[in-house]
Amino acid sequence: MLGIPLHIVLPTLIGSLLAGMMCSTMGVFVVRMKLSALGFAMSHAAFAGAALGLLLASVDPLWMAMLFAVAAATILGPLSEMSRLDADSIIGAIFPLMMALGLIFLSFAPSAGVGNGALSLLWGSVLGITMSDVYKLAVLAATLVIVLIGFGKEFLAILLDRKLAAASGINTRVHYYLILFLTAIVVALSLQITGGLLIYTLMILPASAAYQLLYDIKKVFLLAPVLGAASALFGFLLSLIADLPIGSSIAVMSTIIFLVSIVLSPKRRRTRFAAQ
């Protein structure tokens, strides 16, 4: 494909599609529950963790990314839940710290400046994905599908209104933390593809586009991963054709999809609702 052997680009293509679908699926939760600040902080925590993994060399950056992302979710979740700290404060406190830590770790990492590993944490890499990474993403995707099927009703009720769900007898706290935990894992595993700086766009924009277009949350859950996969696929192709960082290309494509959804959105029209 475009001069690069298929066996090299195929893992990245499959990985991008899986990451696109998973990130945008979790984005449906993040957008609706106004957890954007939390997702933002988690993605940068994952970046810092992965950078530390590169520095330590003996530890897989992926595991460190997961550890940092889950730790961020564990610490920030209760803080955000208590609402004593607003979203801007969370970003303000955590984002610069994680970014600074990540860059410090990278500056000391043996591969800093030249290694694909270090730079791919920032911007993503077309060549940075192996079949082993794809298997991990596939296992996570299967787990995500099982969890969504198993607890889909409870998640939907929470997405409608958390207080109403709690009042109806759903243990909202357990499900809330499950959502945060899954988001953290998805962010950490997708980091290599889009990079720590841009993974957030893949999580937020396809889901936001789906929300723009539909009134039925069940359809949003179907459309968001399709748009996420489309962002990833076209971003991947743009990256290959124009020799751009894959994370940036995916971010550009997901932004275009989001802008188109705003133009097409029935929610912007002042007409009476017609049944979909």
């Binding site: 607890f151 009703k153 409870e154 009720a157 409608l160 009042a167 109806s168 007898g169 009134y215 609702f273």
Partner: protein, 236 residues
């Protein structure tokens, strides 16, 4: 008579606050009773409803509903309690259809890894029909008027088949016609399902007149004697 709700010397404090929102409150409501809770803004009326369904933990005393002690972990018990919070209004972009909002009222009782049964869907549709909102079932909830949204939420109450109904300002932000219609619906649901109903209201009207008891809450305390005084006797 059986007490469906019983509060014994209950105090509650919101996180980060020093002053108790409820202080040494004792109250009971019997099966089938309709109880109005009135009082000035910030008196503790909403808090009273939230400690009854366990959404707000208490610091002292005991709350029992249907004979069971209520705690924040009483998820199973809450399936028997229908609660409509204050200012429950869905903005226009809300991505949920009216029929799904009603059906979701039954989700907690179905359990994980199980899809809603045909019976659940039928109950939801029947509930929408009984409040005259069946034509709205496929409409997005956020595109409905305030009165229509309230109807859908009352259909959700019916679909849940609860034993206790807690309503926080159910008539707020409705036009006069909608207030009358929603009041009649609440009374009809209360009577037909044989519910025990506690509602907070600032409104005079059919709901308050139909209440068997009126409880006045001021500064987190129940005004002495207000519990036992029926409104009609008070008016006389």
């Amino acid at each position: 008579m059986d007490s469906v709700v019983r509060l014994s010397a209950v105090s509650a404090v919101y996180e980060g606050e020093r002053t108790p929102a409820l202080h040494n409150v004792s109250l009971s409501a019997d099966r089938g009773q309709m109880v109005a809770i009135i009082g000035p803004n910030g008196a503790g009326k909403t808090t009273l409803l939230e400690v009854i369904n366990g959404l707000l933990p208490i610091t002292e005393g005991e709350v029992r509903v249907l004979g069971e002690q209520v705690t924040p972990g009483s998820h199973r018990l809450r399936r028997q309690i229908a609660y409509l919070p204050q200012d429950m209004f869905f903005p226009p972009a809300t991505p949920f259809l009216a029929r799904d909002v009603v059906l979701m009222g039954r989700f907690a009782g179905i359990g994980p890894f199980r899809a809603p049964h045909h019976k659940d869907r039928q109950l939801a549709m029947d509930a929408l029909t009984s409040v005259g909102a069946d034509a709205l079932s496929r409409r997005p909830i956020g595109r409905l008027s305030g009165g229509q949204q309230r109807k859908v939420l009352l259909a959700r109450v019916i679909a849940r088949q609860p034993r206790l109904l807690l309503l926080d300002e159910p008539l707020t932000n409705l036009d006069p016609d909608a207030k009358g219609e929603i009041s009649r619906l609440i009374l009809s649901i209360h009577r037909q399902l044989g519910l025990t109903t506690l509602f907070v209201s600032h409104e005079s009207g059919p709901l308050l007149v139909a209440s068997e008891r009126v409880v006045t809450v001021v500064a987190g305390r129940i005004v002495p004697d207000s519990v036992e005084e029926p409104l009609l006797v008070k008016a006389a």
